[in-house]
Symmetry: D2
Subunit: 299 residues, 4 copies
Amino acid sequence: MNRESFAGVYPPIATPFDAAGELRLDWLRENVERWNLAGLTGLVVLGSNGEFPYLDEDERDAVVAAVLERSRPGLQIVVGTGRESTRATVRATKRAAELGAHAAIVVNPHYYTGQMTEPVLEAHYQAVADDSPIPVLLYNVPPNTGVNLSAGLVARLASHPNVAGVKDTSANIVQIADIVRLAPPDFVTLAGSASFLLASLAVGAKGGILAVANLAPDECVELVRLFTAGQIAEARRLQQRLLPINAAVTTRFGAAGLKVAMELRGYRGGYPRRPLLPLGDDARAEIERIMRAAELGPA
Amino acid sequence: MNRESFAGVYPPIATPFDAAGELRLDWLRENVERWNLAGLTGLVVLGSNGEFPYLDEDERDAVVAAVLERSRPGLQIVVGTGRESTRATVRATKRAAELGAHAAIVVNPHYYTGQMTEPVLEAHYQAVADDSPIPVLLYNVPPNTGVNLSAGLVARLASHPNVAGVKDTSANIVQIADIVRLAPPDFVTLAGSASFLLASLAVGAKGGILAVANLAPDECVELVRLFTAGQIAEARRLQQRLLPINAAVTTRFGAAGLKVAMELRGYRGGYPRRPLLPLGDDARAEIERIMRAAELGPA
Amino acid sequence: MNRESFAGVYPPIATPFDAAGELRLDWLRENVERWNLAGLTGLVVLGSNGEFPYLDEDERDAVVAAVLERSRPGLQIVVGTGRESTRATVRATKRAAELGAHAAIVVNPHYYTGQMTEPVLEAHYQAVADDSPIPVLLYNVPPNTGVNLSAGLVARLASHPNVAGVKDTSANIVQIADIVRLAPPDFVTLAGSASFLLASLAVGAKGGILAVANLAPDECVELVRLFTAGQIAEARRLQQRLLPINAAVTTRFGAAGLKVAMELRGYRGGYPRRPLLPLGDDARAEIERIMRAAELGPA
Amino acid sequence: MNRESFAGVYPPIATPFDAAGELRLDWLRENVERWNLAGLTGLVVLGSNGEFPYLDEDERDAVVAAVLERSRPGLQIVVGTGRESTRATVRATKRAAELGAHAAIVVNPHYYTGQMTEPVLEAHYQAVADDSPIPVLLYNVPPNTGVNLSAGLVARLASHPNVAGVKDTSANIVQIADIVRLAPPDFVTLAGSASFLLASLAVGAKGGILAVANLAPDECVELVRLFTAGQIAEARRLQQRLLPINAAVTTRFGAAGLKVAMELRGYRGGYPRRPLLPLGDDARAEIERIMRAAELGPA
């Protein structure tokens, strides 16, 4: 495994549904063809922003197949395969590999929040990494799971030859710095949200898996380029432009907001699936205003 | 629907696995035959204590069928059918009804924690209650979901003719009192843990769905009887006996602890499924000590 | 020390200020004369509801002196003396004793939240109890302090001959039940808010220190009487009446709300001291509406 | 007011006590003389790391006077003056100015956590800034206060001509980036802990008030210099060296740990004041080990 091939920027791609909640693979294919044109490292399929918990297993297969079929050669297709039980996670990971995925990104089990101790999580990930035919990325998303993967745990798992990196959505910049400090140099630490991308790069992250990259992939890639080129002040200005839209499409309005913002830039967002409800007019107007202020008009 | 037929005590039944993680329906049937002998109102199948997130759909069907087949007539068989999407929840609820379940208990969707606003949750539960062929119990379990069903929301849902009651595991006794105050008089508010059963009865709850009732069903039923008979001091003594073992089989040691305690009382606990790990010797000894102190020896 | 002399109902009395923020001892004295007429066990002076952090040391002395001078013989006058350092807490406790207070109620230090481990808190309270000339009540108020005094810690401190009881405002009914279970039988566990008074009595509390008792002392005393007489259904109805007004004068509107509600019942509430701001008209109207609904008109 | 004169690195200086808890101004003076030699912008006196809640008002005056007397000309002496009431905060701020302090750093009131709404906090700080004879720095320390000063609130207060900057200890790097984005360009945003100093500089902070600067002032100043010079990789290596010792002297071991680490580098730490307890031998050995690993031997 070449861990560093996973460095860079990815959108955790949205899954388009129509107003009746039906999966629209045609819209998804359109989006993939546009993402093919940006300087992305890859696409994350069936992540949180892809509403994976709302898809059946056969729908998940169809989504992965559609993305693999349309994405340009060279893009890393990383598929979300975390389930609650270890056996179901292993099974989903093997299935993703069978379909042709290049890596799996594995959210930790979390329903029994209080029982998800470090030994439990470590044994789970070791088992998954042992059995996975493809490289594994850890996925830490405490706002959704109520569980945190500590820097110490991530660093221990980073010594497994089949664990390539981590997406950390905690916004805990000290934890991200500690992961970089404790993990092997080629381990790929990825910011989990565009709002702390620049800060994460500063402490040693190698890219990000960013909801905003669904609608502004070029801007996210450019931010990384500016940082790498030592143009910190310019990177900071771009970071500031992305802050309000990032908040709108994640914590404030979630997948429903992300889809509205995608439509405003000419992508196919469609509707969220229930229980998520589509945004009302006020929220839509607010997102439009935020995007204009950020100079993120129709791309 | 006769809401009050759901008042009383239920165990949220454990699902036995062997050391390899395989489902043991034979062990489950043995347990059901013993629970048949206690004065329980019913059995809750595929609840949190039943490790429902770790079972496949076909295993879930097999568990429900086994319980329905062996449980004595008159027991309310209540099946957990909450899923992340509204459509999957409706589908699972209809399936439980087809199999013969008497009611469904529906945990709220929760992965997108921050998006689970009251309008989202209310529309979700309305849709499920509208489409369910059997009565629905709400299931509020913030320690696992990170979401709380407020008293106001529960009371609004309580006006739906197909919503019979709520299991509240929040341990928030003010919220439980508020639900009783705001919901219709025949609405069935059930304590979600034996540790606050007496307090819940005092403020107007009509029973409980209690992990401890897996191993001490008679004691739980007796506590309700003592309270109802006005024997508060005796009820309090029994409540105090149940406090340490309740903590051990829920927050402290979870499903693994529950299964050890069941074995100590002659039930078939078996092993938890991974990622949950079986308890070590120290924890087992601690549970044994707690049970002896509570005079909960082999039943 | 006769611990049980501290059982019963207390208001944590409000401290009246005028619109300019000046202390109004005359208004305080009027209130004390009305509280003298209710069946209260005592008055808690310089508690959280008394805005003690906003008073200078000389104002605190004046408040204590005014209450001691006007309160009827037999009322337990319990003074808040918790400070951040151990030495300042001891000094304030001795001062309260000098002024004539019958007991001290001691909130735990909390500024260094993360450092307030059980050994730190235990050593602190032991030192205070050792040096106090008067009985000490522990005061657990996690919503304000961010620190919880666990049942285990309270039970260990309860063995000190100079620790008479605890006010627990955590609303954690399992913790309250555990304190009763673990502490000596004569230890006085007091509910910290009227919203969980009935539940606390059910699990063995012996009364409460209740913001609502500032304006509805007779109703609070009556609730305890009904419970003790075994009239649980009547106690529950009274508990339900108190729930909304309790929320209004504590979590929702704080001291500003408490003072408005007191004025509506003919007590002298006055204004809160800044930074707290007086309520606007909408909040006042809401409190008036809640009190009418609870049949708590002018007393 | 020249806001930018407050940019740079400050230690929030420890207050030395002897084993009996007595204030040792002589030890404090020794420390000041060493801090005079580093490239610090100033010293923060009576901050959280200075155990200000454990000092009486006359001790506070003595500490401020000692620091002002011994510190070299040009150092900004910033004094903590936040109190719970607005009037006491104004009084303490005027007193600090009288003694000769160059600025005040004002922690928000927080005891009535739930009542500390944005309007309450905004009115409080406006009143303090209006009445203060010296520039005011806001101080956001949610781990201690349970209250957060949002970026929006800080930005509104930043328009006051007497508010020079903010120390943000939240570790919320998105919030720090938002403050920089929303506040005037000359507003001074300071990292509240060395663990996120580099990340804060990346998003636009202008320095930090850093516990670690008590014992490693040169290293902290050097980190800022490296960042400003565009030597990001070198800055990152220095940041990594500071991470473990920063954790040890803040969240893990608090003021007691800070004092041990100071002694190891030849400063006068002394003992914490009770209720804080001195560290045991294991914790001391752990700190020694961490410092050796970070190449922070005797300075």
